[in-house]
């Protein structure tokens, strides 16, 4: 059984780990400015898995990379916003302090495990390297810890001295996860960690991630386009469209009562294993060009419920029940 979806919800407010306020990110490229992230407010709570859902180019990865401050500058630039962790705005920290955070307090895993590993270095050594960088340990101690980490992700410690190419895709992703968790981070940014893997292997990795997360009390930001993965692993969900969070709530709130027409459209686009639909109900049109975003609500050109108001003014955030918020003028009308 995966995902225990333990949202404290109304009883006692969960403690905030990372607080993103009004984040704006741009990419300056030939011919204009790409508006990747446009005023994102988001809290990641202690111990939760927050799903960041959206399609290619929605700005999910830019948000995660902003937290770690690893966006390449140029061409990308965080133009505005604050990201608080432990009372400090990480966007204002000097680089040498940020280095102490990366891999220690916050670490990240990427979609493609091959590009995250150095092909010329033994996998164990790569894990030990991360440990030595952050913990006061000598080489031998770091090695022992690296072996423990390998065992933890289900790889025997005998494979410490193997090179990345000797591992299959799923095993490589396990190595990457071992490396990311080696210093017991408070936050793990997982950017489509299973997209490159087969479903049976994906199931193994998701299962392992969920149990490790519970064991180590790590918060996870799970970036994905797969609503199935969200249902199985996430406590809370933020839906991203054109660099904005259009809907946020607990997993149950989003799945049982999606409020934003885009979220409704995403569910309608999915072929179902349970039902037999004659035809899918895709979202009309395409994602807007991030260099030339529409005025008003950015979803309005594709939205079946759009009115003139939607095309002119940016919709406010409407608070629904509980923690559920929807950025839509017509949020309270039944979709």
């Amino acid at each position: 059984m995966m995902g225990d979806n333990m949202m404290n919800g109304t009883q006692n407010a969960p403690e905030t780990l990372v607080d993103i306020k009004n984040l704006w990110v741009e990419y300056r490229i030939d011919g204009g400015v790409v508006h990747a992230v446009n005023g994102v407010d988001l809290k990641i709570h202690k111990g939760e898995t927050l799903g960041l859902v959206g399609e290619t180019g929605a700005g999910k990865t830019s948000i995660a990379k902003s937290i770690l401050r690893v966006l390449p500058d140029p061409p990308s630039k965080i133009v505005d916003g604050e990201i608080y962790m432990d009372g400090e705005d990480m966007l204002k920290l000097p680089e040498h302090k940020m280095r102490k955070i990366r891999g220690k307090k916050i670490s990240m895993i990427f979609q493609d495990p091959m590009t995250a590993l150095n092909p010329t270095v033994k996998v164990g050594t790569q894990i030990a390297e991360a440990i030595k960088l952050h913990e006061k340990m000598n080489k031998a101690e770091a090695q022992v810890r690296a072996m423990e980490m390998l065992e933890m992700v289900g790889i025997t410690k005998e494979r410490f001295s193997d090179y990345p190419h000797q591992f299959s895709g799923g095993m490589k992703q396990r190595v990457v996860i071992a490396m990311a968790l080696a210093c017991h981070p408070e936050l793990l940014l997982a950017d489509e960690p299973t997209t490159a893997l087969d479903v049976t292997v994906q199931a193994q990795i998701l299962d392992m991630m969920t149990s490790l997360k519970n064991e180590m009390q790590t918060s996870v930001l799970m970036i994905t386009h797969d609503l199935g993965i969200v249902a199985e692993t996430c406590d809370t969900v933020a839906v991203v469209y054109a660099g904005e969070i259009v809907e946020y709530g607990t997993m149950m709130e989003i799945f049982d009562d999606p409020g934003h027409p885009y979220t409704v459209g995403l569910f309608g686009s999915l072929p179902s294993i349970d039902r037999k639909d004659k035809r899918l109900k895709p979202i009309h049109g395409l994602m807007p060009d991030p260099m030339n975003l529409p005025a008003g609500c950015k979803f309005s050109p594709r939205c079946p419920y759009a009115t003139d108001e939607c095309r002119k003014a940016v919709p406010p955030v409407t608070e629904m029940d509980g923690t559920h918020i929807v950025k839509c003028f017509r949020a309270r009308e039944k979709k």
């Binding site: 292997v201 998701l206 249902a231 899918l280 895709p282 994602m287």
Partner: protein, 319 residues
Amino acid sequence: MAPLLETKNLKKYFKTRSGMLHAVDGIDLAINKGETLGVVGESGCGKSTLGRVILHLLESTEGTILYDGQDVTHVSPRQLAQLREHMQIIFQDPFSSLNPRMTVSEILVEPLVISGKFTKDQIEKKRKELLDTVGLPKRYANSYPHELDGGRRQRIGIGRALALEPDFIVCDEPVSALDVSIQAQILNLLQDLQEERGLTFMFITHDLSVVKHISHDIMVMYLGQMVEQAASDELFAHTWHPYTKALLSAIPVPNAHRRMQRILLKGEITSPVNPAPGCRFYSRCPYACDACKQPQKIEEIAPGHFISCCMAKKINNLE
């Protein structure tokens, strides 16, 4: 009804340094006219190779391919050119399968130009028709592929496959590279085209929910072999093979209240090089026993429902 496409004991082996790689190893299939056969499996199971062997993009090692009752296993280049007017393919990656130096309309009508049977006027007419058919606005006719997004590029790939008005199309993961909202548009387009033109599809994918949505029949492959085959509804209602069961249970379901009892498999797909004669799923199967080390027979466990597993009856309490 006679099937439009049939294969019998079709095999494709590749020579590698470490031995023979059994990519496709004895596949029997039949696709009825106007229907869709979904071929599902994980990466490396041979599903794409199977599609390519059927289309003669790769030569088969052994076995027979029948198209409309005719043996087309071995054909001359001239016969092949004719065959191509009946059989086409849509590729997975709409980024690498289109020539970046040709415009959209050049790509769409290239098959007509190559066939040499059409006049300039006919080609011109077809150019407009094809853009319409796949739902591309006319203003894109002179664009280059890189100017378009993935969904529109895949529409070009579909248009090109339709240019010669084939009867049979192999769709090799046509929506895997696309976002869900675009994926739904393309799936609807393919279904509409099938209804309008009576097209026959072989739909290759790793996504079980997509395959369920679009297929009449489904074949599940594992390491070059068929493990289970049945009508789509039947397969999802009665899943007999342990691999199919595991595959089904592994899919994350986008439903907040439904949890599947997950069957976690050990390890990953093993090597298709010089495989042992027994069941290829042996090393990962939770029910593996000594009998599984023997070559597996294909059994019709229910009408039209085929399975290759000696333990199936025991596992499913059918004995």
